[in-house]
Symmetry: C2
Subunit: 135 residues, 2 copies
DNA sequence: GTAACTGCAAAATATTTGCATCCTT
DNA sequence: AAGGATGCAAATATTTTGCAGTTAC
C-alpha cells in the first residue's frame, strides 16, 4: 500500500517516507507537523519531516486543511487527487473536545452562489463541534 | 467610529488600537499580522501589534479567517459579534490572482448534514478563485 | 493614583537553506 | 554511477514572556 503510493508518484522509497505515509494511513484524521515529530521520535531529523510533508503535498498524496490558529494540518487525499490539483472537496471536522480533525469524506462541500464578479475555483469547509468519540 | 468601537468593548483608547482599528475599517478585506506591521511602519513595536490583534479577537472586534498556509488572517466582525462568541458565519473569498481576502458578508455558510454522532458548533467556509477586481 | 498598555530585551518556537554524505534506483 | 534524500549546522522568521516605564481614565 505504502509502496504503491510512493511508486505511483515517482518518489524513491525511503524510510522516512514509508514511516510518515504509514502514519497517515493508520491514523484516521489529520496530522500536524508536530504530531508527526512526536510519533516518529528521534527517528528522523525535523528537517526531513518538513521536506517529506512538502513533497507529499506537491504530489497530491496529502492535502492541507484550513485552520484558524496558525498551524498546518495535513490529511490523506482520496484517490482522485493529482499532483498540483486536488479534488478533495469534502468537509473537515475539528472536535472542540479532543481537538482531533476528521475528514468527512462522505460530506461534500456545498456550492454557494457568489456575488457578481467572483469566479470560484475551489472551496473548503471546516466544521467544529463535538465528534463521535467525545459525544 | 473607532472610538465608539473601542469604548463599547471597554478598551482604553490608545494610539496603537486606534491606528490598527482604522486599518481594518478602511481596508476592505482581511489583514495578516505582517500586513499591519508593513502599514504601520515603525509606529509601534511588533509585540504591541501581536497583543492588539489578540485583544481585538478576544473582544470580538475582529475574527480569524481559516487559511491553508500557516498564516493568520484577521477581518472585521459585523455587528452581532460578542466577546468570545462570533456570529460571523459568512463565506470568505481568497483571490488566486491578487491574493486579497474578502469577506462575503451577504453569502452565509450553508448548513451541512453531518454523519451520525457529530454535533456541529461552528462552520467556516473559504472559497478561492478570481475576485471582482482581477476578473 | 491605579490599572492597563507599551516598548525593549530576550527566550522560545517554527521554518528554511546550504552543503557534505548516504541511499535508492 | 548518478540523482535524489537525509542529517547537521546555521540562518531566518515567528510568537511569547517578563519587566520597567508610560499612558489612559
Amino acid at each position: 500500500m505504502v509502496l504503491d503510493i510512493l511508486k505511483k508518484n515517482q518518489l524513491s522509497v525511503t524510510e522516512g517516507r514509508k514511516k510518515i505515509l504509514e502514519l497517515f494511513l493508520h491514523n484516521e484524521g489529520a496530522l500536524a507537523h508536530a504530531d508527526i515529530e512526536k510519533k516518529t521520535g528521534e527517528m528522523f531529523d525535523r528537517v526531513t519531516v518538513y521536506r517529506t510533508l512538502n513533497t507529499f503535498v506537491e504530489k497530491g498524496i496529502i492535502h492541507l486543511i484550513p485552520t484558524t490558529d496558525n498551524s498546518i494540518l495535513y490529511a490523506l487525499c482520496k484517490d482522485n487527487c493529482e499532483a498540483g490539483h486536488h479534488h478533495d472537496n469534502h468537509v473537515h471536522f475539528i472536535c472542540d473536545v479532543c481537538n482531533k480533525t476528521t475528514c468527512l469524506d462522505e460530506v461534500t462541500v456545498p456550492e454557494v452562489k457568489l456575488p457578481i464578479g467572483f469566479t470560484p475555483n475551489h472551496a473548503e469547509m471546516v466544521v467544529t463541534g463535538v465528534c463521535d468519540d467525545c459525544k
